[in-house]
Subunit: 208 residues, 2 copies
């Protein structure tokens, strides 16, 4: 049927596969396919080659679960980073987001998910055995940066209990009003938490 | 620098190339790259394979300039279509759009552009020699479906003059109010043209 519309099968295949990506509908996929077709063949083949090796070349660090091209990731390999402070996140992409801030100099630990009893995700399904080892090896601080959702919060509570007796200092990333936001457009939960967890302004200023 | 953010180079390459597509910014490209990474490797390699052969397998019909996998396109090869009526469009994608209507049973001719003296595009730069041949071979009707822009209109005028003495009937697709639109949101040029080119309602009804 697609071929009957005059679209050649090779183009239809590209369009169909692009349309399977999130946020790309059939019209956008067609526009992208036609754009590739109107550009030099080398653009399509370069994209093809990069996609062909993507899974093969990108794996996960055996220690922390971050993206890694082989063995340890470049965080775990970086001796300038503080190996005693670990920021725990749910997904590898969260690490990329945290790094955009440029402020954190410790290491990471990626759970590759969060506890979700409804979906059958317990501690065994997560990258937690490696974390046990890291905590047992004498971690100083574990910063829980799971998401600010019900499941993310439950996961953070679980981890805080799990490592309660280990001597590691447990902290949770701050919740409140995001930078640059107008109060008018924020939800009531964010506002009430921001109010509850208000910090003494003078102390904050002194700490800076 | 991208590698310093913890993004492995193979992923960064995919993201960079996706971000070169129209309407795909760096954030969307990252989301697409991560989505591919989270799916089975076969999805990425299938997309890679379809892209690798795209240019090689998709060409243009030597007669009409439509997309074609080899030699004549499937319109020119279809003996059930009326070879005496040709609808002229600017781009191959316009043919796909016209075919969505399912009403036209003639053939097409793709100019692969439109006259644009400012950009140095004259008749020699367009797929016009093949059209001359088709007209000379005894075409009955040439429907000018160039775009409703200044350049598209100028191209249509040029073609009407070029084939004026050839005996072919020249027509232009209708201009007016698009289906389903509210007058309130249309521009004044469309409305004044729709008014100028009003058709006798009784005649239209009879023709149907």
């Amino acid at each position: 049927m697609i071929h009957d519309s005059g679209m050649p099968a090779p183009l239809a295949r590209v369009v169909e596969m692009l349309a399977s990506l999130p946020g790309i509908g059939p019209k956008t996929a067609l526009r992208l396919g036609l754009n590739l077709l109107s550009r030099p063949a080398s653009d399509s083949t370069a994209l093809a080659e990069s996609l062909a090796v993507l899974h093969e070349q990108v794996g996960f660090c055996e220690t922390c679960g971050c993206f890694s091209e082989r063995g340890l990731c470049h965080f775990c390999n970086d001796s300038r980073r503080d190996a005693h402070t670990v920021c725990l996140v749910e997904q590898p992409v969260d690490v990329l987001m945290m790094e955009r801030g440029h402020g954190f100099r410790g290491l990471y630990h990626v759970l590759h998910g969060r506890l979700s009893p409804v979906d059958g995700v317990g501690p065994e399904q997560l990258h937690m055995a490696a974390l046990d080892k890291r905590v047992a090896a004498g971690l100083k601080e574990l910063i829980l940066a799971t998401s600010a959702t019900v499941d993310g919060e439950a996961t953070a509570h679980y981890l805080a209990r799990r490592y309660d007796a280990s001597g590691v200092k447990i902290s949770r990333i701050a919740r409140g009003v995001p930078e640059g936001s107008e109060l008018e457009y924020l939800d009531e939960h964010t506002l009430s938490r921001a109010l509850d967890q208000r910090v003494s302004w003078a102390v904050t200023a002194r700490q800076r």
